[in-house]
Symmetry: C2
Subunit: 206 residues, 2 copies
DNA sequence: GTCTATATTCGGATAGAC
DNA sequence: GTCTATCCGAATATAGAC
């Protein structure tokens, strides 16, 4: 019969299920647009039971947000720490962003939403801002290496464009054409007269 | 004493004041995140009085949204209808977007928010989508004229980047450097080997 | 652990005096 | 036109049985 380990697994599993339901709903309705009733219904548990797993609606939302940031920026970290040549890094970053966006549209929705306006005070958006700054700093030397004469501005535009492309991946519908976008990004952001340093090797998607 | 005309003006003026208060609040909190109490307080009228001017919270929100779309896309129309050469048009469009974003941060917040997820059914976001498609179509021949060999994708990326830059103008803080951004846009989006067609003549801001 | 009440506050909207 | 008072449904959270 169920060992205590297994029991704990089931417990954590339920927690995850509830959080998944909440993630889906929050990403569409935002914090205020979603009721505990709705979450309970979607997760197939009673509303009272929700409060056995989580202390409050707010706690759920914050846990969720941390998960989401992790989900979206996690894949980027590996690339950033790699030793690849500049163009390949830029390509891989863009590709990873689109992968993440296609795989987690709710995460993108929620992240953008919180970026554009914190729903729970400033703490969440601060967490986001803390990421984008270093990311831009990381991009600067890459564009320098590509021969760009104003890497700061290009890095800014690149970072922001990636965010926007993730949004497009989620809401673009027919407008969104991944392959075309990848090639335009390459053409537009990686032609500063610097020498070519590599050939493509990424770009697959789900 | 007050002519009937003047009275009506005062009435409309109050209406505008209330809407302005509502715009500010809605742009931060979204539809569900703002209470009629809060709007009343900010507009310095009683909550009951709000309902003399507007039928419901929802009506206020919808009116507001139409205003906002108008505010943001209005300036673009003039440029789109002009007979300027391609580069100048692109420059002017970007500049106008940044102007509009700097002058109406609440509008940008609200527009992005609704774009990323409709709060009141699909009708509002549909209204937005209806704008972006034609805008991209409008951009295509411009990039063709510039010698771009994939104008569709470039147009898509350009449109999306402008949206992102408006967001950056609102939430970027120190990160946002308008002058630099304008020059990067020019470098990045207007160098396809086509001949130069003009010199700058725009770029002022508030 | 999971459920069914239920307490309680909040928020949109209305009534009606002035 | 503007206010105060109030109705009433909805939503967060708790209590307590099983």
């Amino acid at each position: 019969m169920g060992s205590p380990v297994k029991r704990k697994d089931i417990l954590l599993q339920r927690r995850r299920e509830i959080l998944a339901a909440a993630a889906d709903l929050f990403s569409r309705g935002g914090y205020h647009g979603v009721t505990m009733d709705a979450i309970a219904q979607r997760a197939r548990v009673s509303k009272g039971n929700l409060y056995w797993y989580f202390g409050s609606k707010q706690e759920m939302f914050q846990l969720l947000f941390e998960d989401i940031v992790q989900t979206l920026v996690g894949p980027l970290v590996d690339i950033m720490e790699s030793e690849w040549p500049p163009r390949q890094k830029l390509r891989a970053l863009a590709s990873a962003c689109l992968d993440a966006a296609e795989a987690n549209p709710e995460a993108v929705r929620l992240l953008w939403r919180i970026a554009i306006q914190p729903e729970l005070g400033e703490l969440l958006s601060a967490q986001y801002s803390k990421r984008i700054g270093p990311f831009i700093d990381y991009l600067k030397p890459i564009f320098t290496a590509l021969g760009d004469d104003d890497p700061d501005a290009t890095a800014m535009l690149y970072a922001v464009s990636l965010d926007a492309l993730m949004a497009l991946a989620v809401i673009g519908g027919d407008t969104y054409d991944r392959a075309k976008l990848m090639s335009v990004i390459e053409k537009v952001f990686m032609n500063f007269g610097g020498e070519k340093d590599d050939q493509s090797c990424l770009g697959s998607s789900g």
